[in-house]
């Protein structure tokens, strides 16, 4: 985990680079949705203020040089009692299961003392969202935008200041699950909360960052995160021990909670409004946000997931997201809808800390500086070849021009300009040699 001190604000990023593996190719710089990666001196580097932890670079790196930081299973040893927090998308990683029970049993078999389903907490968040929408009807900034995907929340906080007030100010299902699990375990065991480890099984790096620096609250309820693709083989092994008695763990979550693992699950579970929209995939999310800044389209609720298909498409998942989606739908039809989801005090689910705008687009620290840099930027862009070839280490000529005016790159890092310049010098030399009677050509 790297702490980046950004004007007093600490951002935690869970996407990092393995310098030894990075070959300095341009795959990641071209695919990063916020243009947060540059190749400098033959290696990629991530610009912390711009990174939203979406994991796109992990997906596209052929050298496996981009990785997510998370804990390994040995983190269980740090606690006297451990609770696994599986997200609903985990269940869809396995074949031929009718409901989530066997996954919960297997989690206990691999060493967790207890399991608390994030899907169960998600049902409470659904109920709380319902209450938030109905109690404040007509007084909200519409559409209300879901805050379940931390990539989306962070993206809004750096690029869409006009939408900050649209964010649903509720803690996430993961945090709520951690909070409830800790309380339950503490009551059951008599242990103090710090001896109890609530460990999330994460589909993505963004959720690792979010448990370490939660959004909208100072409280940390989740202690660690392990990647789903790390526990997956262990769980599978336990499940496959034929005839073996797995420890028993009764499921809590119903169909609504399971639905949260796929795109549309959160919004379609709302009964108080049918004016909702759900979009998945980071490029689509950006497209919707751009539109929403100008126009509300009569919408009341918008669910946005950075990954295609929703959390089943997380970069740390195992199964193909589309297959996983079909499996969630099948499981949903097998299990009941919880009429009365676990109740918790609604007010305690609200954010207790404001989310600030962290402008990341300004070219300078002051308006004067930004303005002056912008003027240079415009003429520099004109003089660049516009090929977006990436050889300079920036994703586009325009991004390169920004780097130059900010003092982070040199104009001659552009290979095309450099070549033009050398050709010019060469020609000039040639003609001056000619004029003094030298010639590099062998003509008699």
């Amino acid at each position: 985990m790297s702490d980046n001190d950004n004007g007093g604000k600490i951002f935690l990023h869970s996407v990092t680079l393995d310098l030894d593996k990075c070959k300095g190719c341009i795959n990641c710089i071209k695919r990063c949705p916020t243009e947060a990666i540059r190749v400098r001196d033959g290696k990629a580097s991530i610009i912390s203020e711009l990174c939203i932890d979406c994991g796109q670079c992990i997906r596209v790196c052929q050298n496996k040089a981009k990785k997510a930081n998370y804990d390994d299973l040995s983190v269980l040893d740090n606690f006297e009692y451990t609770v696994a927090l599986p997200p609903p998308s985990l269940y869809a990683q396995f074949n031929n299961i009718d409901d989530q029970k066997i996954v919960l049993d297997a989690l206990k078999a691999v060493g967790f003392d207890d399991v608390f389903e994030v899907a169960a907490a998600a049902e409470i968040i659904t109920a709380a969202t319902e209450r938030y929408l109905t109690r404040n009807k007509g007084r909200l900034k519409y559409p209300v935008i879901s805050t379940a995907c931390p990539v989306v929340t962070r993206l809004i906080s750096v690029r869409y200041p006009d939408l900050l007030d649209n964010l649903l100010p509720l803690i996430t299902p993961v945090e709520l699950a951690g909070k409830m699990a800790k309380k339950r375990a503490s009551e059951k065991t008599g242990l103090s909360p710090d001896k109890i480890g609530c460990i999330f099984l994460t589909p993505c790096p963004a959720k690792v960052s979010a448990i370490h620096s939660p959004i909208g609250t100072e409280h940390k309820y989740v202690d660690a995160a392990i990647a789903i693709n790390e526990v997956y083989p262990l769980l599978l092994k336990e499940m496959k021990k034929l005839g073996a008695e797995l420890p028993d763990q009764q499921p809590l979550a119903g169909a609504v909670g399971l639905g949260w693992g796929i795109i549309g699950g959160e919004s379609t579970s709302l009964k108080s409004t049918d004016k909702h929209l759900a979009a998945d995939g980071i490029d689509n999310v950006i497209m919707v946000l751009e539109d929403l800044e100008n126009h509300r389209y009569g919408l009341e609720f918008v669910e946005l997931n950075a990954c295609s298909g929703g959390c089943v498409g997380g970069v740390l998942q195992v199964e193909n997201p589309y297959i996983a989606r079909a499996k969630v739908n099948k499981m949903k039809s097998n299990i009941k809808v919880n009429d009365e989801p676990l109740d918790d005090d609604y007010v305690k689910l609200m954010w207790d800390k404001e989310l600030d705008y962290n402008p990341a687009m300004e070219l300078g620290d002051t308006m004067e500086e930004s303005f002056e840099r912008f003027t240079r930027l415009q003429s520099l862009i004109e003089s660049l070849p516009g090929l977006d070839c990436g050889s300079c280490g920036a994703p586009t000529c325009a991004a390169f021009a920004e780097d130059v005016v900010k003092g982070n790159a040199e104009v001659m890092d552009c290979v095309v300009l450099l070549r033009r310049k050398t050709e010019e010098i060469y020609k000039r030399m040639e003609s001056s040699f000619d004029s003094v009677g030298f010639s590099n050509r062998t003509e008699d």
């Binding site: 200041p161 751009e290 100008n294 389209y297 300004e362 300078g364 930004s370 912008f374």
Partner: protein, 139 residues
């Protein structure tokens, strides 16, 4: 310091591109370090005018000029023009077709919003020749 000028031609043909000029100008204004509130007001006003270019005219141009703590916006088109400007600036007035309304536009709040979000607003229109809107947002 010299003024900064950003110019966009808005096509009247392609509805799917409507809004692109305002998104680009908004992003450029942010890069210039202009306060978020002024960027928002300018972007909404440009967006409304840009949509009008597409739904009521046959496209046109959007220009934004930034100098001395103000954003000056000029929107011009050679479309059908507006017969009664006083009517067009009033809240809820719209000649948009049902088809346009079904797309979620045509609430008759475009021009009233431009007036609301800008510090200066001026509209000139000649039927058969076109429309010109000049707006200023100060910061």
């Amino acid at each position: 310091m010299n003024p900064i000028l950003i110019r966009h031609d808005v096509s009247g043909e392609d509805f799917s591109l409507a809004g692109e000029a305002s998104v680009d100008i908004k992003n450029q204004l942010r890069k210039m370090g202009i306060p978020a509130d002024a960027v928002r007001k300018a972007a909404i006003s440009i967006y409304e005018a840009e949509i009008n270019l597409v739904i009521h005219a046959t496209g046109g141009t959007v220009e934004a000029e930034v100098e001395n703590n103000e954003i000056r916006i000029r929107i011009t088109d050679n479309g059908p023009g507006i017969p009664d400007v006083n009517l067009a600036v009033s809240e809820g007035f719209s000649t948009a077709t049902d088809e346009i309304r079904n797309l979620g536009f045509g609430a008759g709040m475009g021009i009233p919003n431009m007036i609301r979000y800008t510090d200066e607003f001026d509209i000139k229109s000649t039927p058969g020749e076109g429309t010109e809107i000049n707006m200023t947002v100060r910061f």
